[in-house]
Every structure is written in C-alpha cells, then in structure tokens.
C-alpha cells in the first residue's frame, strides 16, 4: 500500500504537465484527494508549469478578441460550485440581466478612453512625422523586448529607484527604463549614455520621474563590452557626460 502510494506520489510532476492519462490519471486523482502533501506539491508545480506556458505568449489572431467577447455575451455562466456556495451563501439570480447593461456601458467607457488618448496624442505630438517616429520607436522597443536573446540587467542608481535594461545582442539594441528615481531637481534631466573605450555617446534623455510610467529609451548600436550609464545633466541634455553616472549597467553578453 505504502509502496503504491509512493509510486503514485512520483507522478506529481507528470500530472502537473498533463502527461498522465487513462486509468492511471483516475487513480492518481483519487490518490490526490486523500494526500495533502501530493496536492500541495501539485499546486506548486502547476504554478511552475504555468510559467513555462506564459513565456510562449504570442499575439493572437486579430479577429479573435471580438469573437470571444461576442461569444461570452451570449454564453451563460456557471454558478459557483456547491463547495463555494457553502462559504459564500446562496447565489443571486440576476446574472443574465446584468450582461445586457454592461455591454453598452463598456463601449461608452472605451470610446471615452479612446477619445482621451487621441487628444493626448495630438497634444504631445503635433506633426505627422513625429507621430510616425514615435510609433516606429514603440515597434523597435517591442522588438527588443521580444527578442529571443533578450537579456535583463538591473541596477540601483545612487540617487534611488531602479533601472532596468533589456539588451538584445542580435539587434545590438537596448531598452532602458527607470522606476522610482527622484526628480533630479533644478530643471536638470537624466541622460542615458552608451559608454565604451572610445567615449560616451548619448542615447537620449530619460523622461522625468513625474511621468508615470516613465517612457523607455531605446539605445542603438550597443555592442558587447559597452556600458549603459545615466548621468544628471542640465536641461536639454549635454553632448558629453558632465557628471559621474548615477548608475552603470554592463551591456556585455
């Protein structure tokens, strides 16, 4: 009996990976119901398996969202299981009516948000070219972040907060973001540099700490052995660093 139980216990991993089938699956699930340690182990391994799944994310086909949302609006939901009912009390029976109300409300909210976004975009970017450039930048940033060889470097600036760089060797690019860095004060700015033996090249200004979330900066032509550094510079930035970097991240892969 204990031997069989031990044998079954070894199935936790395969079970969490959905690799157990048939009679053995039924047997294991029966065992699981009475084995708290097994259930706890399966719970943890399922979380691990889920993370293996999360990293496979790819953009779903464009039409899928509308189809799913439309299907949901005509699909009745299951009531809580009896186990949960005991804990929560009896369900209310008005679920269907709520659907009819929520769609138009959602659409209205979405349109309002879309309008706000457009206004903001026009306000921030007033020429077509700039808009195009910004979009191209977003795409380049997304490409670096999704690069199969993307590597993360994190640093703690001397002024506080964190800096995260996602570096793709194949693209020779890095995306640098900051979080919780204090305002440099006195109208000064944070400037990002690509630094190597030849010197320091500006990769642009980091947005102020009041922008939330701070927008990322894309650094081009980042080679193995280079460093990414952030300095405090006068408003508008400098052509070369004038202060000691508050943080340095290695870009070598």
């Amino acid at each position: 009996m204990s031997v069989a139980g031990h044998e079954l216990h070894l199935l936790t991993g395969a079970y969490a990976a959905d690799a157990v089938t048939g009679a053995e699956l039924a047997e294991f699930e029966k065992h699981l119901a009475g084995c708290a340690t097994c259930a706890e182990e399966v719970r943890g391994l399922r979380e691990t398996a889920a993370r293996l799944g999360m990293v496979t994310a790819i953009a779903p086909p464009p039409g899928m969202k509308d189809q799913v949302l439309a299907a949901a609006s005509r699909t009745r939901q299951l009531p809580p299981s009896s186990r949960k009912l005991v804990a929560l009390g009896a369900p209310r029976a008005t679920r269907r009516i709520r659907h009819a109300v929520s769609r138009p409300a959602a659409v209205a909210a979405m349109s309002a948000m879309a309008a706000a976004v457009v206004v903001l975009a026009v306000f921030q970017v007033n020429t077509r070219d700039q808009l195009k450039q910004a979009q191209a930048g977003d795409r380049a940033i997304a490409a670096v972040l999704a690069a199969p060889d993307a590597r993360i470097e994190m640093g703690t600036p001397s002024v506080g907060g964190t800096v995260t760089a996602v570096i793709s060797r194949s693209d020779s690019q890095a995306v640098v973001t900051t979080a919780d860095m204090p305002d440099p004060g006195g109208g000064k700015v944070y400037q990002l540099w690509v630094i190597n033996a030849v010197g320091a090249r500006s990769a642009g200004l980091m947005s102020g700490s009041r922008v939330n979330p701070p927008s990322p900066v894309l650094a081009d032509d980042v080679k193995p052995g280079d460093w990414l550094g952030i300095t405090i510079e006068p408003a508008g930035g400098s052509s070369r660093p004038t202060t000691t970097p508050v943080v340095l991240l290695s870009a070598h892969a």
Binding site: L10, L11, T12, G13, A14, A16, A17, D18, A19, V20, T21, R43, L45, E47, T48, A49, A50, R51, L52, G53, M54, V55, T56, A57, I58, A59, P60, P61, K65, Q67, V68, L69, A71, A72, R76, Q77, L78, P80, S81, K84, R96, R98, H99, V101, S102, A105, A106, A109, I141, A142, L145, A146, P148, R151, I152, T164, V175, T177, P213, S215
Partner: protein, 197 residues
C-alpha cells in the same frame, strides 16, 4: 457608470486600469458577469493562452479554436476559480494546456512535432508587461539550463510537446519510472530556481 455587478467597487474602478491588475480580483468580477473585467483578462492572458496552444498544436487554425474555447471557458467557469488552490494565472494556463493536449491526443499525435523553446513575438503594447515577460523568459531559460539534459528534454516533450509520459519515455528511450522522476525532479528544480531569481 459602472455595471451593477461592480457596484461594490469605487466609481470608475472598471475602467482605465492597464495590464498588471490583480487577475484574481478580475476573475471574481467576471464570475459576477462583468464584461469589462473579462476583456481585461483577455488582454492579459489571450497571448499566453494562444501561445501555449500554438506550442502544443502547431497549427494556427486549431490553436485559435482552442484559445477561443479556453477564453470562453474562463468566462463560463470563473465562479469555480478558488484563489486558495492556486493563482489565477495557473488556473487559466492549466485550462489552456489541458485543452491543447486533449486536442492533440484526440486526433492522435503520430506526426513528430519539432521541439523548440524559442518564443515568438510577444503580444500587447504595454512596455512594463513586455519587460516582465522578457524577464520571465530569461528566468525560464536560465532555470531550464540548470537542469540535466534528461530533465529538460522530458519537461519540454511533456509540457511543450504535449506528449504523455509513456510517450516521452519512448521518445527518449528510457524507462517509464525514469521519466516520471525526471519530470518531477526537473519541475521541482525549476520551481525552486524561479523562486530565487
């Protein structure tokens, strides 16, 4: 403004929240019929759900079908999610993976499916989310490389390949018991590795 089902929440809580919201709380709202919460869940998890289906099934059309079924399943059975028994992400991804492997097994996985770990393009626009995913991919890669070859192969074939563990044993030419323990040891090592990094 809000739907009656979200009246317990502050005004406007159903809007303007980007990715990164607490999925468990969103699922609770979905269970009450909240379509906005469902849309937020879709935005966060449709990419991974579709990705895992593609990983296991390969065929884009079938993967889309499965991904749609999974998302609809999330809508239908949101009330069955129990935060005490695991995270919302694990709940959804378990549904997704099970449905994908069920589909593979239903139509006989006799065709050898090539195994690759390389992820495709990431969905979503949100940079914070993308950074998080890049970080996760890096962790998974690093932790996977800390396993023995046999552990890593067994896990990839079982999880990404959708093979049963006896099939994995056949593919790797090792005993059933060996695969059983390697998948378990390997996942435990992955779990511990990803916890500390």
């Amino acid at each position: 403004m809000n739907t009656p089902s979200t009246s317990a929440l502050p005004d406007g809580a159903g809007q303007a929240e980007g990715p990164g919201q607490d999925l468990g709380a969103l699922l609770a709202r979905v269970a009450r019929g909240d379509h906005e919460a469902f849309e937020a869940i879709y935005d966060q998890l449709a990419g991974p759900v579709y990705g895992v289906a593609r990983k296991v099934l390969r065929d884009p059309a079938q993967s889309e079908e499965v991904a749609q079924e999974v998302m609809l399943d999330v809508w239908r059975s949101a009330s069955r999610f129990d935060a005490g028994r695991g995270s919302a992400v694990a709940w959804v991804m378990t549904i997704a993976h099970r449905r994908a492997v069920d589909r593979v097994r239903a139509e006989n996985a006799s065709v050898a499916r090539e195994q690759k770990l390389a992820p495709g393009p990431v969905s979503g626009e949100d940079v914070a989310q993308l950074v998080e995913m890049a970080l996760d991919r890096q962790r998974v890669r690093r932790c996977m490389s800390s396993l023995t070859t046999l552990q890593a192969e067994a896990i990839k074939l079982a999880y990404y390949g959708g093979y049963t563990y006896p099939q994995v044993a056949g593919l790797l030419g090792v005993a059933l018991g060996t695969v059983k323990t390697r998948v378990r040891d390997g996942l435990i090592r992955m779990r511990d590795c990803m916890e500390v990094t």
